[in-house]
Symmetry: C2
Subunit: 412 residues, 2 copies
Amino acid sequence: MRRHFKGDAGVAIQFADRMYSVKKSFIREILKVTEDSSTISFAGGLPNPKSFPVEEVAAAAAKVLKEDGESALQYSTTEGYPPLREYIAKRYARYGIKADAGEILITTGSQQGLDLIGKVFLNKGDTVAVERPTYLAALQSFGMYEPGFIGISLMDDGIDVEAMKKALADDAVKLLYMVPSFQNPTGITYSHEKRKQVAEALRETKTVLVEDNPYGDIRFMGEDLPPMKRYVGGDAIIMGTFSKTVSPGMRLGWLYAPGDIMEKLITAKQAADLHTSYFVQRVVYQYLLDNDVEKHIKRIRRMYKAQRDAMVSALERYFPDGVYYTRPEGGMFLWVTLPEGISSIKLFEIAIKNKVVFVPGHAFFVDGSGQNTLRLSYSNSNEEQIEEGIKRLAKAFYTLKEAKHETIAVKG
Amino acid sequence: MRRHFKGDAGVAIQFADRMYSVKKSFIREILKVTEDSSTISFAGGLPNPKSFPVEEVAAAAAKVLKEDGESALQYSTTEGYPPLREYIAKRYARYGIKADAGEILITTGSQQGLDLIGKVFLNKGDTVAVERPTYLAALQSFGMYEPGFIGISLMDDGIDVEAMKKALADDAVKLLYMVPSFQNPTGITYSHEKRKQVAEALRETKTVLVEDNPYGDIRFMGEDLPPMKRYVGGDAIIMGTFSKTVSPGMRLGWLYAPGDIMEKLITAKQAADLHTSYFVQRVVYQYLLDNDVEKHIKRIRRMYKAQRDAMVSALERYFPDGVYYTRPEGGMFLWVTLPEGISSIKLFEIAIKNKVVFVPGHAFFVDGSGQNTLRLSYSNSNEEQIEEGIKRLAKAFYTLKEAKHETIAVKG
């Protein structure tokens, strides 16, 4: 007879401590309940599939397999396909950054970059500073290594530098994670002045900057600014991705880090998945080589600009004063702040009945605040859907507001 | 002025503790120094690229992109493409195992499976039992979660069950990791009787079995046996891969685990890379659907059988009595034990000058033993290369043996 039936009710399998503190992504759970096609979704951060270069990728795949098929299907190096690393390194030159191909590590999407950085830097109990609100999946990836988090408030032009200085005065803050351009979830972009101040403040610390830059190419208005790395210099790590400019389904991203950090990242990557799909690396590189990528990116910018304009315009028309929202200069997201005391979770419950969904904002805060905020994505809806979706959302908002007044009236 | 220049000599960046104990793969380092094409390599565990279905994969990629391109390039679910999971689950039926698609998680190569299992189960200081010798990359992946390792000796027909019982009597052994069919590095396969005994012994413990089965399909002689999972029942986790039967460069593998474990694995996978390349999943599934896969696998078996026979035959002809080697019934590896006191590292140094390389065996032992052992891979060399390579290796062996005698003579 078995002493234990592992997995049986009663005798639970003992998982690692980290598994009891990490939650599943709230966003992914939302996406599951909203697969109904009549619901308009501003929830997921999905690129517009109309932007995918399907035919060009097909041509690239055919060419790679015809010309070098056996090699493209074989194991490869952990670091990644050298010409692809070279391509990525060279592209930073447009910002006056001299990157070396040896400083680029190809990753399985930029999400893997977060995991590798966590693995390389974090002992249990170390501190990670993040923006407030911040990218949810960064909390999940880093969270697996059981650090503590400090949230630093975002202002209209980027992080609150005084609060940042205060937070980083503690030597124990190992990493500062930020998305300085078209931030997820807020759409906020750090100004040139703010970038300089952040770099200046970082110099006084031991903290390593992790700059997540998935949307940097998708600027459709305002002045283009270099990554924080240009301001900070050698120590920063940049995370990049082809998800927003070529295809997210490929899962192809990279880390750009100085040599001593890179060496550790490669060791961690080797243990994580040996290397990123070599077939994918070869196909995407062939695509980049054979096509006018800058032209393609311009097309995506125009597409998202139109969608962003449609959303801002609809918000202006359908929502009353007292509801605030960001006006992003790029990227895929817009952030709404409802009047104090109006819960975006309650709004969600009504909105889903009205067949429109979004992500309630509290999920993006390490301290559970932001109850009256929400994230809207305009990237995966056309202008008609955006118009209709914001109309439905406004209707839900008024329903909630009136119900609230009634409650108050009854209470009074 | 900067208080610290992070990364400067003198003020080292503080990495996580785990990064100071994990070494880079010795095998990968060997592969780097042996890129000279006149050197015959028995070192890497590379499949024979002649076995890759290049044209069929090209047809599958073209079809997927033509028929469903926008979807194939979009983000997808963490669990993986449902029809692919269904296909994998159903294929276990040939061993009398009823797997449900919900128990299959698609991974970025089976290497990622190791990382996810480590993440889900291991706290620092937990114990993992492994075969002695064992698969090197498992030590690396699990090692990232800072467990202790116990090595359990392998016999000709599988693990030493008495030693295993003794090791697992300690309640703290969380995982038992094994490769029961055509093991890497030894080529050893557990007998039916041994599998039964292992299952029986496991029942008395809390330890979860991790069965790595990358070579199970590549049996070219002897009686086909079901995976350990069939003997153990619900609690075992199986790791599988398309690397040996379709293409390793795709990085496509899976975990097969019961529901309560699967739930944690999905959470860990989500944090690790969101999901495995959806494009790769779609292409490989299309390939599996449109081709006679069993016929393709039979072709690989014939290919490796011929290569294995060539190596065994050459070893018989060129090496003297007192050198022992396994005679694998499948897989890609063969294990050589030299006479006591003859170092495979010294042999390596001579062999590389003779333009033949292999992996010295001590790397596969958690306790640094196995100094007189080595691993030979026959999968990525043709019969002529194998004949010539073993001849060169034997020459190196005799050179070493004579040098040793001379040293003894001089000493004497």
